[in-house]
């Protein structure tokens, strides 16, 4: 299954791009509306882009009233990404979303700024949400974590149904002209090519300790990139930054992935999932 990475596509302004996905994931929704961070919000580096969007979103109430019905009208399979600043906030949004049959699953963005990423508190958030909804819960983890496998185990124990790996890692770019940070808030999340080896490691390590399904993401540009995430243990693949340069990426990557699967003797993604864990061939 090919999804978009949360925050990297607005199905309402680009419905045809969303329609090429197997499933659309919303930008993270928080309890209160957020205008997001002041501009400049994006910067480019040779190895990836930085963003400091700051979870701009209409807030859960407006989202349910306006955006969700519009999204539902598009007839997409739909995941909603949920954010917050405490376990209670996450759980409250999950409880509200539980009533919407159009929403297939919830992704918990456990790497929000200001939300502690320690295994404990990620697990505490998942546990609170688990009590608030029967929908499948995908726990999205950050690579800024010495023991991501430990976090994976903890959120699994707390009731997560899947893992979304990985969110951005903190980066900074200095403006060549002013020698000040390009982003107004100085640091931002690094996404794109630089994340690919980091994402592969995260997926590989989490697959070792957990059999939960995994949405792998980070720097996917080609079908081969998607294939490698599957090989490392992902069951699905999400595309983020690449959508900005190439809105046709979902269809292109799907086609390239199929070629790559066949070249390696597989018919489906499921068959290739986790093959990098097999003992080396003689």
């Amino acid at each position: 299954m090919i999804l978009n990475a949360s925050g990297c596509l607005d199905a309402l302004t680009a419905p045809n791009v969303a329609a090429a996905l197997d499933c659309f994931v919303t930008k993270t929704v928080t309890p209160l509306p957020r205008g997001g961070n002041p501009p400049t919000r994006i910067a480019e580096t040779p190895v990836g882009m930085l963003n400091s969007i700051g979870l701009a979103n209409p807030g859960i109430d407006e989202f349910l009233r306006v955006n969700l019905p519009e999204l539902a009208a598009l007839g997409l399979r739909l995941w909603v990404s949920v954010g917050g600043f405490s376990a209670e906030e996450y759980a409250a949004s999950c409880a509200l979303l539980d009533a919407w049959p159009e929403v297939e699953a919830l992704e918990l963005n456990l790497s929000c700024p200001n939300v502690e990423e320690a295994a404990e508190s990620a697990a505490a958030i998942v546990a609170a949400c688990r009590a608030a909804t029967t929908k499948p819960l995908w726990a999205k983890l950050s690579p800024a974590n010495w023991d991501i496998a430990g976090s994976a185990r903890a959120v699994e124990a707390a009731g997560a149904d899947g893992l979304s790996l990985i969110n951005t890692i903190r980066g900074l770019a200095i403006d060549a002209r002013t020698n000040r940070p390009v982003l107004s808030l100085a640091t931002g999340g690094l996404s794109g090519p630089a994340l690919k080896p980091i994402a592969l490691a995260a997926v590989f390590q989490c697959r070792r300790v957990s059999q939960l399904p995994i949405v792998g993401m980070g720097g996917v540009r080609t079908g081969r990139d998607a294939f490698e995430l599957l090989a490392a243990g992902a069951t699905h693949v999400a595309v983020g930054t690449t959508l900005f340069a190439d809105p046709g990426a979902p269809g292109r990557i799907r086609a390239e992935l199929q070629v790559e699967l066949e070249r390696n003797g597989f018919t489906t993604s499921a068959e290739a999932s986790g093959i990098a864990h097999a003992p080396a061939r003689a």
């Binding site: 925050g7 990297c8 596509l9 607005d10 309402l12 302004t13 680009a14 419905p15 045809n16 791009v17 930008k27 205008g35 997001g36 002041p38 501009p39 400049t40 919000r41 994006i42 910067a43 480019e44 580096t45 040779p46 990836g48 882009m49 963003n51 969007i53 701009a56 060549a176 794109g192 090519p193 930054t241 959508l243 900005f244 340069a245 190439d246 809105p247 046709g248």
Partner: protein, 228 residues
């Protein structure tokens, strides 16, 4: 709802120097040139993100972009040679409204980029007579680009272009932020084409947010042309 963004690989036909700027002419293929003031995302070879560029001219069967090579992305685009190809996505955003009574084009520096196309479109609505234009540049070298805009009065710093704007005309302006702020103050009701760093150009990234009516909104969706 915006029409679906269309992306196509086009081939460089010519790479011409105009003062410090590059006029990059490409094949048009199936690309719709859109409305003046709309923009395209141009692939910047070797870079992660594409770069937003106004359409400058629409020679028969071609697209032409006027580009100031100020950083890695624009330099990579300006280095493209005839025969090389690049992806273009567009047209994107909202262009100028052309149904105005007494148009005056106002441009500053590389901000004149969309004005040649705008002038042509307005001329077509007006029996072939191009609208008047006032253009400001940093130097005589930069001002060479003024040749692209017919019927233009040109000034060079320290004279500012706002000094050349007569009252009572319908201003369509593009230029650096301080110029646009000055035009906004001087000419209520004008149409201003703004800039912001953009990652996607089609509403996906929320990177281009600027304050519009007191709220942070996506310039690529609400603009780049906004009413003063």
């Amino acid at each position: 709802m915006t029409p679906p963004p269309r992306r196509e690989r086009v081939t460089v036909v010519a790479n011409e120097q105009i003062g410090p700027y590059t006029l990059l002419r490409t094949t048009r293929g199936e690309v719709d040139p859109g409305v003046p003031g709309q923009f395209f995302m141009l692939e910047a070879p070797g870079r992660i993100l594409p770069r937003p560029m106004s359409l400058c001219l629409v020679p028969t069967g071609e697209l032409a972009f006027l580009i100031d090579p100020i950083g890695p992305g624009t330099q990579a685009i300006c280095a493209l040679q005839p025969g090389e190809s690049l992806q273009v996505l567009g047209p994107l955003g909202n262009g100028f409204r052309l149904d105005v009574e007494q148009p005056l084009l106002v441009g500053g520096g590389i901000g004149i980029a969309p004005l040649p196309f705008t002038s042509q479109a307005l001329a077509r609505r007006n029996g072939g007579t191009p609208p008047p234009a006032v253009l400001g540049f940093r130097s005589a070298h930069h001002a060479e680009a003024a040749a692209l805009v017919p019927n233009a009065e040109v000034c060079i710093e320290p004279t500012y272009v706002t000094a050349l704007i007569p009252a009572g005309l319908d201003v369509l302006a593009c230029g650096p932020e301080p110029m646009l702020e000055a035009v906004r103050a001087q000419c209520p009701g004008s149409q201003l084409a703004w800039e912001a760093p953009m990652a996607c150009g089609y509403g996906a990234c929320y990177g281009c947010a600027v304050e519009i009516d007191g709220e942070l909104k996506r310039l690529c969706i609400e603009g780049p042309v906004l009413a003063a």
